[in-house]
Symmetry: C2
Subunit: 293 residues, 2 copies
């Protein structure tokens, strides 16, 4: 049996940066909070608590503590409220997400009807939407578009969607509008992880996808794998069932951009154990197939 990991699995630039900002802030403060989970990974959020970085769900719970803005960003109104209440703000919004907010604003100001490809319940999309005063259309799939003609349409995407879904949306909109401006805001880390995962899934009999059940980019990796092969989306090694690997030859592992290396290593070692292999690893770099591009 053969267990391999997809190239580029694990933390992306924006997630690494957010964690670094949080840890640095906690060094000089007794207690800090993040407004919502700083990244969509419950294991990492729990670990940060040991460093006095606590997740709060609303402004009332902040109680004067320095507040880190999560990697997905927050709604404009919330940022304004924090400023009004003189709360110390440490902004850990992913720079690619911030850039997307700028695009949303400028497209709307230039008179484009804004269409966002994304999950309307996701914090990134909710924050994004808040930067536009006019009506915004949010669709998770081109099929959700209502049959309507537009004069000028501006299209952006949640940073963690599939480029195929953006292509489908744009294609569908061509006959529905006179003018269309598309800014491909799907981040490079997302695309690279999706391609690496797809490549590995094609060569595997089973795929294990590790990452937050609430993580959009991890769910997208699971969706990609599911279209090809039997797939399990797990958060930790404890969820693994030995029976999954029965009669499987090529076993693939991939992880979302918000999955910490130690979680990935634990999962990999547990998988090895299940298939009767004793060559455990200590670092993600030692897992066969890993490569940071």
């Amino acid at each position: 049996m053969n267990v391999r990991i997809a190239r580029n699995s694990g933390f992306c630039f924006g997630v690494k940066r957010a964690i670094k900002i949080a840890l640095k802030t906690s060094e000089v403060n007794h207690e800090v909070v993040t407004l919502g989970p700083i990244i969509h990974n419950p294991q990492m959020v729990a670990k940060l608590e040991s460093q006095n970085i606590f997740k709060v769900d609303n402004i009332k719970q902040i109680k004067g503590r320095p507040t880190i803005i999560r990697s997905h960003g927050v709604k404009k109104e919330i940022l304004e409220e924090l400023e009004k209440e003189n709360i110390e703000i440490i902004n850990a919004t992913c720079p690619y997400v911030s850039k997307t907010q700028d695009y949303a604003k400028s497209l709307s100001e230039d008179g484009y009807n804004l269409i966002i490809l994304g999950d309307s319940n996701h914090p990134e999309v909710q924050a994004l939407r808040s930067y536009v005063d006019k009506k915004v259309i949010i669709v998770a799939d081109a099929d959700e578009l209502e049959d309507k003609q537009f004069k000028k349409v501006g299209i952006i995407s949640q940073t963690t969607r599939r480029v195929e879904d953006l292509q489908k949306l744009v294609k569908k909109l061509v006959p529905k509008c006179h003018e269309m401006r598309v800014i491909n805001t799907i981040c490079n880390a997302t695309t690279i992880r999706q391609i690496s995962t797809l490549d590995l899934a094609k060569e595997s009999d089973i795929m294990i996808v590790v990452g937050g059940k609430n993580s959009s980019n991890t769910k997208m990796l699971a969706k990609i794998c599911k279209s090809l092969v039997k797939t399990y989306h797990i958060e930790t090694a404890s969820e693994i069932d030995k029976m999954w690997f029965k009669d499987k030859q090529d076993i693939g592992l991939t992880a979302g951009a918000s999955t910490p290396n130690w979680v990935i290593v634990e999962v990999y070692n547990k998988m090895l154990e299940c298939v009767g292999n004793i060559n455990k690893v200590d670092n993600i770099e030692d897992i066969p197939g890993f490569k940071e591009e």
Copy 2:
């Protein structure tokens, strides 16, 4: 047997306008010329000669006569040369084509790499291209695109292409560029004629497409029909062969946006004759299926 015509067949707004301008000009001038065929229909061009409207192929042949700019437009350099030589210019460029030239110019000025969907040898595309000083990419099909990444891409189309081809091009470009601005310059008359023709072709055993062999929009109608049913692209009734209709039940007729009504009526009457029907018509409005929308 049943002979029907596609709704909206024949002259579009831009063609009617160009012919009207030409005739009006010839009323007040002894002789006028058009630089290139005023529309892509040899029968109409020949007819205009009887009204002293002559086609010339280059500036040298103008010899001081008032010059009508064809419906497809001409290259910017040619217009400048005519002005320099003090030749009286009567511009019969289709307003939708002029508008497309404006879009080409402004997209390029705004820093977009211009990609034109169209036939690089067609006068409309050559004129369009001349309004941009920078490099322009012209493709007749998305498959012709070279594998290259762009920062900002501006996409316009020759007015007579298929919207499906524009969709294919746009879809292909999404992963190849950061930003894309698409202006759907396919004219409404083109789209309406294509839809009407497609609808009729679906219900026909054979399609006759009438119009200039050099007419881009007529060739596109023939291409659409050919994908569904046996199709003949003809210019005049004289090309019809009775044998084409042997054992055919539903016979469809359609005509390009530059095909004069009298040519369409002649073709229809000849088709009736071939199938042994004596109910000839005098006007296009009397052909079953005709409807101007």
